[in-house]
Every structure is written in C-alpha cells, then in structure tokens.
Symmetry: C2
Subunit: 252 residues, 2 copies
C-alpha cells in the first residue's frame, strides 16, 4: 500500500507541536495537480517553491527526491500539497542554527469541479477584506494565510466560486502583497512566447469592470473565465479558451 | 509521570498535517509564566485568549478545563504555551462547519534571564522590518508570525535582547498591527488603578528618544527597563521599578 502522506519521508501524518510551521506559520507550500504520478507545470512549481523557500531562508528540497515523494503519495491522479517548514525548534522567534526543515508531501482527492465552469465561466465577488502590505512576503506562498481564511469566510453561496482580493488601492501587482501562482507564471510565459502583450500591474475595480474578458487561474482550476463579477457580466471568453487549449496541450 | 504536553487532552506531542494551524496559521496562542502550577496574570491572559479566539471565530477553551491542563503539564515552575487552532480539515481556505478546534498546552523550561536585566536595563534596537497593517489581525496573537520571525533574524548580538517594531509611521497603538500582550494589559490596569495617566498611541522614533524612561514588558520578562536604544542611553528607571514591585506583589 502506498502512503498518502510523507513527512520527511515517513508515513506518519503528523508534525511535532514544536514545529515552527505550526507555531509561527514559518514555512511555505505549493498545491500541485498530479496526473499518473507526475505533477503538472512542474518547472514553474518547483521554481516558485525554491524562490519561496529562499525568501524565508529555508533550505529548498532537492528536485528529484521531491518528485519521487510526490509519485509515491500520488501514483495516480491527485491533488498534492507540498509544505516546507523550518522544523521543530525551541520556543521563541529566533532561528536556531542547523535546525532541519520539515518536508510534508500529502495527497488529496482531485477537486470535483463541474466541467461547465471552464466553458461557461464562474461567478466571482470582490472581497471586503483589504490585504495588508508586506513587501517581504509579497508573492510568497507562505503558511501565514489568515487573510485568505478571513476573505473566504465572507460568503457561503456555493454559486460564487472565487473572491478577488485587493489591497487599499487595487487588485495588486504582487510587489506589496498577494501570492505569485505557478499557473499564473506559466500563463504569462505562454502569452509572452505567443507574442501576446502582457502587463503585470495594479488594476482597480472600475478598470476591471471595463475589461473585454477576465479569467482566473490556479493549478487546480486551470483557467476559469469570469461570467459575473459585481454588476458586470461577460459571455464570450476567447482568450481564456486559447489558454485552456495551450495548457491542455502542455500537460499531455 | 506528568506529560509535558497535552493535545486535546492527550499526551502525544503532535498534530495532524491537516491541522489548519499548520496549513494557514489559523489559530492563536499565549505564553504563560507558571509558578507552582498556577499561571500568573491569569485573568488578563484568559481574557486575551478568549478575545483572540473570537477574533478568528474559534471556540475559546473553557477556563477551568484549561487551568487543569496547565497544572497537569506544569505542576511546578515553567513557561507554558497554549495554542488553539481551527483543527484538521479538508484542503482549502473555506471553514468546514462543526470542525473541532485543536487545543495544545505545552510546558517549556523557564527562561534563564540574568536578574541584572530587570535591574540594570537591556539593550534594544529598532528593527528594519516595517509591519504591514491589517486591522482584522491587529492586537491578535495569531499563529501568523512571519513578520516577527523576519524581525528577530535581523540581529545575532546576544547583548541586544529585544527589537522594536514599527509600522510605516511609528511603534503603533495596535489598531493597525502589533500584538496586545497580557502583561501590557495588566500594567495598563495597574497604572490606571494607581492614578498614573496613560495614553495608548503611536510613538515615533524621535519622540521615544526624548522619553525620560522606556520599558518593555511581556509575561516572561516582566518589566525590563531599556538602558540603550539606538544612540540614546538611560540610567534611571524609577517607573519600571515601581511596576516591577507591583507585579511581584500581584504574583505572590
């Protein structure tokens, strides 16, 4: 039988209560879509994981041992969450030298998103929570995610699939807050390779409402066009459709 | 033998890797100084714990069962850390209804602070990290503490005992960021009861340098006068001394 979880290579699905990932959110994570034991969009995912580990001065896991652990917990199709924390240490914020990191690789079921969402678009909402600005954490998928928890608790309507977060000014360019997703990075790469002009910048609520098309992206949803956001509705998603095709091609 | 850790009443010193305290820092904590099984400054500590749980919509632990667990892990003198998290749940930010919280009560050794620090004062420094502003978390001792980890890694000099954190403007009044400590609350209560006029407000670097006296406080240090901060030195600590006496009296 294959373990669905490996913690530093061991199948016990627990961490010490002294782990700094728990004590301080002192760690990072990625969420991977795995097909037949192979994580999709792996080069971006691994690059982001290394980047985020370095942002916290954590030793990044080696690529090939990590791929082996992913295949071990998810030999078929699954969602796999990878966490790297600063490991168990003494009480207090100071980092003890030579403390080994904790590496967690855990398989979860695939999400059961209806196929229609990618075709017909989703409903989204503007969240009321205003993101704080912390350039040291901007773009990093750290384990400090209470803002996202608060934002996701703003609504219960299952028809609303996603919430958009803004800082005080706009949906931000990731220099002050937010998370740089691996799927987002892949789409930017694909767009630039195809000669599509891309700008990464703050976008205010009014400007977004004037857009010809809006789509959201992460590793599990792929590309979801937005059909409704606030008062604005969209019905045509040609750009989203093209990226969906490119990603599907890339993943096979 | 007495367990040094209780996790939901059980002595195994671990949590599930699916615990949201680990995944998102979705929880709160307090650090208690315990003498002969009795946590000092308990009314303030418990009040803050309940406040912080409610800020995250977590069910606060009952006071008397929690006191019993504290005495069980620390029948003598110890530091005890209490954590309350939203417990193990499915992947994703949404909160599953009816998910039981995780309650962690863990004994640690007493800190080995030299007695001279309280008498002669400590060296402190201004941290370079600028606190982000998040009113939803301001004052709450949540498990999202990467800013503190970053700030504490700015220096290694063991002569410097503490770092002062500012937001973009000043060392803040806790409406935008920061943590409302239980010892701080006790000192404010003692001061007001003694007719000492207190203001809680932003204080900039220049104003602090002009102060007649500065002291820091938390549950473990008690009250530490500051003898050096940046270029400024202090040698007399009459106000800190008075609060040290009041606290010592209160704790016996």
């Amino acid at each position: 039988m294959t373990a669905a979880v490996l913690v530093n290579g061991s199948p016990a699905p627990v961490v010490s209560i002294h782990d700094r990932g728990l004590a301080f959110g002192d760690g990072v994570f990625r969420t991977l879509l795995v097909r037949a034991g192979r994580p999709l969009n792996w080069p971006c995912q691994y690059r982001r994981l290394v980047h985020d580990c370095l942002a916290l001065a954590l030793p990044p896991p080696g690529e090939h041992p990590l791929l082996a652990e992913i295949a071990a917990v998810a030999p078929g199709d699954a969602t796999v969450k990878v966490m790297v924390t600063r490991g168990a240490g003494p009480r207090g914020y100071a980092i003890a030298s030579g403390q080994p990191a904790t590496r967690i690789v855990a398989a979860h079921p695939l999400p059961d998103y209806p196929e229609a969402l990618a075709r017909e678009g989703i409903r989204a909402r503007w969240c009321e929570l205003v993101l704080g600005e912390q350039p040291r954490l901007a773009g990093v998928k750290s384990l400090n995610r209470l803002e996202n928890v608060f934002a996701r608790s703003e609504w219960n309507d299952p028809q609303i699939r996603e919430g958009l977060l803004c800082d005080a000014a706009a949906t931000p360019d990731l220099s002050r807050c937010g998370v740089a997703g691996a799927q987002r990075e892949r789409i930017l790469d694909l767009a630039r390779a195809a000669g599509v002009s891309c700008e990464v910048r703050d976008i205010g609520v009014e400007e977004l409402a004037r857009a010809d098309e809006v789509f959201l992206t992460n590793s599990l949803m792929g590309v979801w066009p937005v059909k409704q956001l606030g008062d604005r509705a969209w019905t045509q998603f040609p750009v989203a459709g093209r990226f969906q095709e490119r990603i599907a091609h890339d993943d096979t």
